[in-house]
């Protein structure tokens, strides 16, 4: 396979990019100075080599612990549980949350074989066990699966004696946090309710 075909195929694996757009991207790179493409290649390699889950919260991280976990200015008594690591970014961009995170790595989904064992539930309970956390904010999606996951977490975390809250309504039902604007997330956080 030619180099052009190969890169086109790789691009077209990306979300939202069809074969035609992929080919356009390749031609664009070929028209630019070769260093630009090398920089892109380097950046891709760095992401693949350096970014991994934070060993404490599951957020994207370039070290053992992520930027949030190592920030001494964050409030360790509040823990916000999200489904996916990219949702940490969505909440961070609102600038209205100062606590820490915990990434589940998905949500309960029986037909996909995703139960509690497939999610980072045990590490979450271990963090609660440490005794620092006083409030658990459950920010799973506003879908049936996200709600069921929230209820499961609530039942599981309840014996640890922490306050458990859920994002206020306002996040459109069925939407991923990823697609919700910052002010809506900030409002949902501010209006969180006891579970």
């Amino acid at each position: 396979m030619s180099a052009i075909d190969q890169l086109t195929r790789e691009f077209s694996r990306l979300p939202g990019i069809g074969p035609r757009t992929a080919l356009r991207l390749v031609y664009h790179l070929l028209k630019r100075p070769p260093d630009e493409a090398r920089r892109l290649a380097g950046a891709l390699r760095d992401v693949a080599d350096r970014v991994r889950p934070c060993t404490r919260c599951g957020n994207f991280s370039e070290g053992e612990l992520c930027e949030v976990c190592t920030d001494a200015g964050r409030d360790p008594s509040t823990l916000c549980v999200v489904e996916e690591a990219y949702e940490v970014g969505a909440i961070e961009r609102t600038g209205s949350y100062r606590g820490l995170y915990h990434v589940l790595g998905g949500r309960l989904s029986p037909l996909d074989g995703v139960g509690p064992e497939e999610l980072n539930v045990a590490p979450l309970l271990a963090r609660l066990e440490e005794g620092t956390v006083r409030e658990l904010i459950v920010a799973t999606s506003a879908s049936v699966e996200g709600e069921a996951t929230a209820v499961y977490l609530e039942e599981t975390a309840r014996p640890h004696g922490v306050r458990i809250t859920r994002l206020a309504r306002g996040i459109p039902v069925g939407s991923d946090l990823e697609y919700v604007d910052g002010s809506t997330i900030a409002e949902a956080l501010a209006g969180r309710r006891e579970m």
Binding site: P110, L111, V144, A148, V151, P172, G174, S175, Y179, V180
Partner: protein, 274 residues
């Protein structure tokens, strides 16, 4: 291609791309229908609202027979079933029922199955929690029977004899019981007369007065469905249900024991244990 509108219940959805989802409905007029829904993942998506798992309503699609995925035109939800998410056991039970119908997968009109499915989801959302495992058994066996897989629990599949008060053994391959004389080779659980009566009741959606070992019954159902409905592949949601049942008081078969490991057979009542 034609535009088709049918009552439908959404049983499953997954993200296909950044903006699109694949939805699996059970519809009254066309059975199981897969639908590609473009642009439904973002907030402003038209027609995307109300596309929640277990919701039912009126589905309008661009339909072409024999095509794997139809195209979504609109879904007008009539009722959500968010109540199923307020309790993980209800959620698990509803998932079993949904997967059962999806695995059967027949793409033809099934008004009776549709109505039964709707009733099952409603029942699982509303039944008092202690009665949930029992109700799930009724609804799931009821659907299994309606889909055409009724287990033979009255007479021996080999000789036709009624085992009466004796133990019988379930033969998954034959889809029914074998009496003591014909039991050689059958590897299914032993079933006493009460358990057999209970299973007969479940397929007719009759609740037994009291169910001592719901988990053993659920295991038999799961194995039966694996063998007959889903082509040898266990339903994912049965495994999920099992993990949710672990530790719940109302569904444990024996106190202090992990029933999943020990109770292999729904041989509860008289003459139950070999």
């Amino acid at each position: 291609m034609s535009v088709v509108t049918t009552p439908a219940v959404l049983l499953r959805s997954f993200n296909y791309s950044e903006t699109s989802r694949i939805l699996r409905f059970y519809t009254r007029d066309h059975g199981v229908v897969g639908v590609m829904a473009k642009g439904t993942r973002s907030r402003s998506a038209r027609g995307g609202t109300g596309l929640e798992t277990f919701a039912s309503g009126s589905l309008t699609i661009h339909f072409r027979a024999g095509r794997d995925l139809q195209t979504l035109r609109d879904f007008a939800p009539a009722r959500d079933r968010r109540g199923l998410a307020t309790d993980v056991l209800r959620f698990a039970g509803a998932s079993v029922v949904a997967e059962l119908v999806l695995e059967h997968g027949v793409q033809e009109a099934g008004p009776e199955i549709f109505d039964r499915l709707e009733a099952a989801l409603d029942a699982l959302a509303e039944v008092p929690r202690p009665a949930l495992p029992c109700r799930l058994l009724q609804e799931a066996w009821g659907l299994v029977a309606l889909l055409g897989y009724r287990p033979e629990v009255e007479r021996c599949v080999q000789c036709g004899a009624d085992p009466g008060a004796d133990l019988a053994r379930f033969d998954f391959g034959a889809g029914g019981i074998r009496c003591g004389h014909c039991a050689a080779g059958a590897t299914g659980p032993r079933l006493g007369p009460v358990a057999r009566q209970q299973i007969r009741g479940f397929t007719a959606r009759i609740a037994p007065g009291h169910l001592e070992r719901p988990r053993a019954h659920l295991r038999l159902l799961s194995d039966f469905v694996t063998y007959h409905v889903s082509g040898g592949k266990p339903l994912q949601s049965f495994r999920f249900l099992g993990s949710m049942l672990r530790g719940t008081a109302e569904a444990s078969d024996e106190q202090g024991e992990d029933a999943a490991a020990t109770a292999e057979e729904p041989t509860d009542e008289p003459g139950g244990r070999p």
